[in-house]
Amino acid sequence: MAKEKDPNAPGSIPPNENGNKHALRRREFVKLVGGTGVAATAQVLAGRQLATAATTTVPDEAVGSGKVIGPGPVPMTLRINGEAKRVTLEPRVTLLDALRNHLDLTGAKKVCDRGTCGACTVIVNKKPVYSCSVLAIEVADRDGKPGAEIRTIEGLAPEGKLHPVSASFVENDAQQCGFCTPGFVMSCTAYLETHHNPTIEEVKQALGGNLCRCGTYMGVRNAVVQAAMSMKGGRA
C-alpha cells in the first residue's frame, strides 16, 4: 500500500534525489495545511495505515539476510546538514530524539511529540516534516544507498550568522519564549524555497501546522512576507 503511494502526497516522506523511497512508515509524517482539527483526524488515519505497514514491511538492510532489526540498538547513518552521521539507535527512536538526544542538535523541539504542533519541524528531502513522527531508521542510509537529506535549523546558517528567515523573525519580533520558533523558521524556510510571493492568506495556510502558545502569530505573518522579499533579493 505504502509503496504505491504518490511520494509527493501529503503524509509521505518524499524520495531523495536518488529516488530512494522509504517504505517503513511507523510514525508516518503528517503535515497538512489548515486547522489542527484536520491534522488530528489525519493523524488517526495515518496511525491505522502504519499498523499495516509495520507488520508487512521491514527495512531493506534486513531484506534477504533473514536478520531481524532491533529491538536493540542498530548502527545507521543519517545525512544531516550535508554530513553523514553514524549513530547506533534502537529502531523505535524517532528522528527528533535521534537529533536531540544522540546528535545534540536541539534546535528542533519536543513539544507535543505527536505530530500536532510543528515545533520539531525539520526539512527532509526539501519538504517540511514533523521529526517526532518519523523514525530515524526510516530516513537512514539503506542498501548502500544514501538516506534522506535532512536539514535542521542548525544547518540553515553557520553559527553566528542568521538565515534570512531567522533574521526576519528577529526584526518582526516573531518570537517570545522562542520554543516554537525553530519549527516555524523551518516550516517557513521550506515553504519560501518553493513559494516566492506568498500572500498573508497563503502564509496562514502554509504555517497552519505550527502552534505557538505566547501568541507570536502577528509577528510571524509579517516575518514570512519580509523573508520572502529578502530571499528573492538574494536569488536575483
Binding site: G34, T36, G37, A39, E90, D97, R100, N101, D104, T106, G107, A108, K109, K110, V111, C112, R114, T116, C117, A119, I153, E154, L156, A157, E159, L162, H163, S166, A167, F169, V170, E171, D173, A174, Q175, Q176, C177, G178, F179, C180, T181, P182, V185, V203, K204, L207, G208, G209, N210, L211, C212, R213, C214, G215, T216, Y217, M218, G219, V220, R221
Partner: protein, 709 residues
C-alpha cells in the same frame, strides 16, 4: 543621595523605541539551549510514574521489575505508600535510565497498588458537590436588595469560564547535576533566585548557596513555573543517587494533567440599572474550583465597574482535577467575563450601546476613570464602532452573523524586589547582572536598554547577565512585576555606576562631576559638547579597578494600576456554530514603556492567547474515571496562525502615562478578550452563549434555546 528619575522621553535614544529583543537571534537560529535541550556528559534520562486515578491511596510500590529493566540506574519514590494521591497525573515516582526510551519503558513497569477512593471532577453544579464545597464569606456593600428592587431594569444571567491549562510549550522540568555537594539545576523556571532554597528545605542540598539555578531562556511559564516542584526534587535526588546528571522533563500528557490549571469560575448574576443606563445594584452567587485545595478568596465582582450596592456569595468546589496554578492575570479573566457579560446583557435589555453604558458609569471605575474613558474612545475609533455597531442580533439575511463586543480591565503591576549590579570595566565594557529571568517577555532587552540609555551608549555595549541564581537576588516573574522591578533596580545601579565614573573623569575635564553627562558614547560637559572624552578614554581612567554600581528597586521609578479597553468583531456561522474573530482592538496603558516593540508583542500575544481561551480551551474531565480526556495537543486546542483575522494594538503613551514610571504589562491585555468576544457573539446571534469556550456545540445550543424562548 542621588536623584533617580527617568530621562524625559524626548531625550531618550532607546527608551520607548521599537527595539528588537536581544535574545532574538539565539532563538530564531535554534542555537540557544533551553533546559529541555541540555545534554550534559554522561547524562541519564528520567521519566515520571503518576497516578491513573483521580483519588486513591497508594498501598504499595514494587520497583523490582522496573529495576531489572535495561539501562535503569535509579528509582525515586515521591509518594510513599500510605499517602493519598488527589488527581490523575499525581506524581508517584521517577525512574532514571540510560536513554529516554528505557526510562519510559521502566516507568511503566513500576507496580503501584492503589486503593481507589471517591473522586469529584465536576465543578458545574456545586449543590451536587456535597462535602466538597467550601462556602466563603458573603460580602455586602450598601443595600443591594433595595437597589435591585428599585431598579427600573434588571437582567439576570449565568456566566462562566471552565478550568483551562497553561500548556507551556517547554514542559516543566530540569537537568540536575552534582559536583561534590554543589548542585546545578538547569531549570525551566520563572523564579531563578527563589528556587535554591527549596532544595535545602527538602534536605537535598546543605545550603542555598550550594545550589545554582541556570535559566538563560525558558519555553513559557504563564504563572505555572514558580517552584522546584516534586519532579525537580526527584530529579536532584536521582542525580545524587547515581552520581550522574539527570534530565527529567514532563511528557505532554502529564504537563496538561498536573502542571498547571486555571481555576474555573461560574456565577448567577442579577444586575439593575435606571432606564438611562446608570447601574444601581449587583448580586451574584458564584462558584468555581481550584483543584483539591481552596484557592484564594471571593472574587472581586462586579469587576472594574464597582456598582456601589452589591452582594457577592462565593463557593469553592474542591475537586480532583489537578492543582491550580497562577495563570496569567489570576482570577481577572474570569471576573471580567462574568461582569462584562452581565453588563452587556443589561445594555441589550435597555437597547443601549454597551460602550455608552460603560461611559455613562465610568466614575464607578474609580481613579482610572479618565484613562478608561480615553481608551474606550480610542478603541471605538480603531474599531469604527459607531458605524459598525447594531443592537443585539444581526438582522441582515444569511447564515453568517456579525457582531461587536467590548470589555475593560485592570491590573496592578508594581515592580517586585530587584537588585542589580552594574559594572564598568577599565576597558570600557559594561554589564548589568540580576538574578532575574526572561520568560519571553523581553526582560533581558529592557535591562539592556535601561543600562545603555543611562550610559549614553548603544544597546550592543551592554552585556546583560540574568538567568543565574549567582547574580543579585530578584523576584519571581509573575503578576507583571518584573519590568518594574528590573528597570528600577537597573536604572539605579547604572546611575550609581555612572556617577562614580563621572567623579573619576571630572578632573581631566576641569569640571565638577555634576556638570558632566554621558551622551552619544562620550562623557562631556553639559552644554559644552566640545569639552568631552570618549567612553573608552573615560573608563581607562579607572586604572585597574572596575566600578560597581548597586541598585535596588524602589518606588520612585515605577507605579502600579493600569486600565485597558478591548473590542472584538466576530462572524458566527449560525449553521455550523463556528465563531471567527475578524478583528480584535486592544488599547492599553502601562506607564512608561521601555521597549515599544516587545511591549506591543506582549499585547498581541495576550490577544491571541485570549482568543484561544475564548474559543478553544477547556480541560475536559471524565466524571467516571476522573481523568483528563484531552491531555494532548490534538484535543487541547491552541489557536493557529490562521484562526483569527486582524489584531490592532494601541499603546497609550505621552503625557499622563510616561511620567507615571514603569508598570507591568504581561497580565492586563489577556483579561478582556473572553468578555469582548463573548459579548460580540451575543451581539451577532442575539443570544448569550453563557460559558467559554464558545465552541460550535454551545453556540448552536444557545441558538436553539434562544429560538424556543
Amino acid at each position: 543621595m542621588a536623584d533617580y528619575h527617568w530621562p524625559p522621553t524626548d531625550k531618550c535614544n532607546l527608551i520607548g523605541r521599537r527595539i528588537a529583543r536581544l535574545d532574538g537571534p539565539w532563538k530564531s537560529s535554534g542555537r540557544i539551549k533551553y533546559s529541555y535541550d541540555m545534554n550534559r556528559p554522561n547524562m541519564l534520562h528520567a521519566k515520571m510514574v503518576f497516578s491513573p486515578y483521580a483519588h486513591a491511596k497508594v498501598v504499595s510500590i514494587d520497583t523490582s521489575a522496573a529495576e531489572k529493566m535495561p539501562g535503569v540506574k535509579a528509582i525515586d519514590i515521591i509518594t510513599e505508600p500510605g499517602k493519598e494521591v488527589f488527581w490523575a497525573g499525581h506524581e508517584v515516582a521517577a525512574v532514571a535510565a540510560e536513554t529516554e526510551e528505557q526510562a519510559r519503558d521502566a516507568a511503566r513497569r513500576v507496580q503501584v497498588r492503589y486503593e481507589k477512593l471517591p473522586h469529584l471532577v465536576s465543578d458545574v453544579e456545586p449543590s451536587k458537590a456535597g462535602e466538597h464545597t467550601k462556602q466563603l464569606a458573603e460580602q455586602t456593600d450598601g443595600n443591594p436588595d433595595q437597589a435591585l428592587q428599585q431598579a427600573e431594569v434588571t437582567s439576570e444571567g449565568e456566566y462562566g469560564v471552565p478550568v483551562i491549562t497553561h500548556c507551556c510549550l517547554e514542559t516543566h522540568g530540569q537537568v540536575a547535576e552534582w559536583d561534590g555537594d554543589n548542585l546545578t539545576v538547569y531549570a525551566s523556571t520563572q523564579n531563578v533566585s527563589g528556587i535554591p532554597g527549596e532544595f535545602v528545605r527538602a534536605k537535598i542540598a546543605d545550603s542555598a548557596d550550594k545550589v545554582r539555578v541556570l535559566t538563560p531562556v525558558m519555553g513559557g511559564g504563564f504563572g505555572s513555573k514558580f517552584g522546584a516542584d516534586t519532579w525537580g526534587l526527584a530529579c536532584a535526588r536521582l542525580a545524587k543517587k547515581t552520581g550522574r546528571p539527570v534530565k527529567l522533563m514532563l511528557e505532554r500528557d502529564q504537563e496538561l494533567m498536573a502542571a498547571g490549571a486555571r481555576p474555573s469560575m461560574y456565577a448567577k448574576v442579577k444586575v439593575g440599572a435606571k432606564r438611562d443606563g446608570t447601574l444601581t445594584g449587583w448580586q451574584s452567587e458564584s462558584w468555581g474550583t481550584g483543584g483539591p485545595d481552596a484557592q484564594g478568596g471571593a472574587p472581586s465582582i462586579p469587576y472594574v465597574v464597582r456598582i456601589p450596592d452589591r452582594r457577592i456569595r462565593h463557593t469553592t468546589v474542591l475537586t480532583n482535577i489537578g492543582p491550580a496554578r497562577a495563570w496569567r492575570a489570576p482570577n481577572h479573566p474570569q471576573m471580567c467575563l462574568i461582569t462584562m457579560s452581565a453588563l452587556d446583557d443589561l445594555a441589550a435589555k435597555l437597547g443601549m450601546d454597551p460602550v455608552e453604558m460603560l461611559q455613562k458609569n465610568i466614575d464607578m471605575t474609580g481613579q482610572l476613570s479618565k484613562t478608561y474613558s480615553a481608551e474606550l474612545e480610542k478603541a471605538a475609533e480603531l474599531m469604527d464602532w459607531k458605524k459598525k455597531w447594531h443592537p443585539r442580533g444581526d438582522k441582515t439575511p444569511g447564515s453568517i452573523k456579525r457582531g461587536l463586543g467590548v470589555s475593560i480591565h485592570t491590573w496592578g503591576g508594581r515592580g517586585h524586589d530587584s537588585n542589580c549590579n552594574c559594572v564598568i570595566q577599565p576597558d570600557g565594557s559594561l554589564s548589568a547582572s540580576l538574578g532575574s529571568q526572561d520568560l519571553g517577555t523581553g526582560t533581558r532587552t529592557v535591562i539592556g536598554i535601561v543600562t545603555a540609555e543611562t550610559m549614553g551608549l548603544p544597546l550592543e555595549a551592554v552585556k546583560v547577565n540574568i538567568g543565574d541564581s549567582k547574580y543579585p537576588a530578584d523576584g519571581a516573574s509573575g503578576g507583571s512585576t518584573t519590568v518594574g522591578g528590573v528597570s528600577s533596580s537597573t536604572r539605579r545601579a547604572a546611575t550609581a555606576a555612572l556617577n562614580q565614573l563621572l567623579e573619576k573623569v571630572a578632573p581631566s575635564l576641569n569640571a565638577k562631576p555634576e556638570e558632566l553627562e554621558a551622551v552619544d558614547g562620550k562623557i562631556r560637559v553639559i552644554g559644552n559638547p566640545s569639552r568631552a572624552i570618549s567612553w573608552k578614554q573615560a573608563c581607562a581612567k579607572l586604572g585597574t579597578t572596575p566600578i560597581t554600581g548597586v541598585g535596588q528597586r524602589s518606588n520612585d521609578l515605577i507605579s502600579s494600576g493600569v486600565g485597558g479597553a478591548q473590542m472584538a468583531e466576530v462572524s458566527v456561522d449560525t449553521e455550523t456554530g463556528q465563531v471567527y474573530v475578524d478583528k480584535l482592538v486592544a488599547v492599553q496603558d502601562c506607564g512608561l514603556i521601555i521597549d515599544l516593540k516587545t511591549a506591543e508583542s506582549q499585547v498581541y500575544g495576550a490577544c491571541i492567547m485570549g482568543i484561544t481561551y475564548s474559543l478553544f480551551e477547556h480541560k475536559i474531565m471524565d466524571e467516571q474515571t476522573g481523568r483528563c480526556l484531552n491531555a494532548d495537543m490534538e484535543f487541547y486546542k491552541l489557536a493557529g496562525i490562521g484562526d483569527f483575522g486582524e489584531i490592532v494594538v494601541h499603546m497609550m503613551t505621552g503625557s499622563g502615562f510616561d511620567e507615571r514610571g514603569v508598570i507591568g504589562l504581561g497580565e492586563p491585555p489577556v483579561i478582556s478578550p473572553g468578555a469582548a468576544i463573548s459579548n460580540a457573539v451575543a451581539n451577532a446571534i442575539g443570544v448569550r452563549v453563557p460559558t467559554l469556550p464558545l465552541t460550535p456545540d454551545k453556540v448552536l445550543g444557545a441558538l436553539e434555546k434562544g429560538a424556543v424562548a
